[in-house]
């Protein structure tokens, strides 16, 4: 897994590629935690290049979303591939996380 971080206004975009799994979840958590510790709580996870996410990756998304919302921010998802979207639906995550077709839409949703 590889990540890169962009900033648009107050919104942080974390571009993720590869696999979000038990081996990489800790690194991904570190990326999100670093941004939140720096006071940035409006986050977009760009999943466009994610091959798959295991339950370990889902735990990171859930924990990050909870932390962000508890500080008046949010984690929103963009561009999941159909297979990844299926996993998000199976897990019930599409009921609690906002999912957008594009990164631009996700960023704009923060208003």
């Amino acid at each position: 897994m590889e990540t890169s971080v962009d900033r648009r206004g107050d919104v942080i975009i974390v571009h993720i590629s590869g696999s979000m799994d038990g081996l990489t979840a800790e690194d991904l958590q570190h990326v999100f935690s670093s941004e939140m510790e720096a006071g940035r709580r409006d986050l977009v996870a760009d999943l466009g290049a994610v091959d798959y996410t295991s339950s370990a990756g889902l735990r990171v998304l859930l924990g990050t979303m909870k932390h962000a919302r508890s500080h008046d921010g949010d984690l929103r998802l963009a561009r999941p591939r159909p297979e990844v979207l299926k996993v998000l639906k199976l897990s019930g995550f599409t009921r609690i996380l906002m999912v957008f077709d594009t990164v631009d839409d996700a960023v704009a949703s923060f208003g």
């Binding site: 696999s19 799994d21 038990g22 091959d51 295991s54 339950s55 199976l90």
Partner: protein, 137 residues
């Protein structure tokens, strides 16, 4: 856990060689990754070494993955279902892994190997077929 990608990639390669589509490739990678991560995290808790053996068999229409370990016996069919409906404040991620395995595979079976060890068999429809091979990680 550092060998997890090798185990997942072995299964993925079997899907590719069998002509499986992107959906089958994703689902096999996910399921094999979840089962193996569970063995590493829970089956071999506190142990520095342990073996996981993966064998695949393909037929005309489906891929069968047999995952064998020597860890603590664990029957996933006895797990309570995960929480997929609560409000985000109360949502906990427990038991999602096996829920995903059951969700993306056509068949999942578990057999204990006596007092220690497990055999998990995953089956997935993939379409046209060819190869089979074993690997130990």
């Amino acid at each position: 856990m550092e060998h997890l990608p090798e185990l997942v990639e072995f299964a993925a390669q079997c899907v590719r060689e069998s002509g499986g589509d992107a959906g089958a490739l994703h689902d096999i990678r996910l399921a094999v990754g979840e089962v193996c991560a569970n063995v590493i995290e829970h089956g071999y808790t506190g142990e520095r070494r342990g073996s996981i053996t993966i064998e695949t068999t393909t037929t005309a229409e489906r891929l069968v993955v047999r995952i064998e370990d020597d860890g603590e016996v664990f029957d996933p069919s006895g797990l309570p279902p995960p929480d997929t409906g609560s409000d985000w404040r109360r949502r906990e991620p427990g038991n999602l892994g096996w829920h995903l395995v059951y969700g993306v595979m056509d068949e999942v079976t578990h057999e204990p190997r006596g007092d220690r060890g497990n055999v998990v068999i995953l089956a997935k429809r993939i379409g046209p077929a060819s190869a089979s091979a074993p690997e130990t990680g």
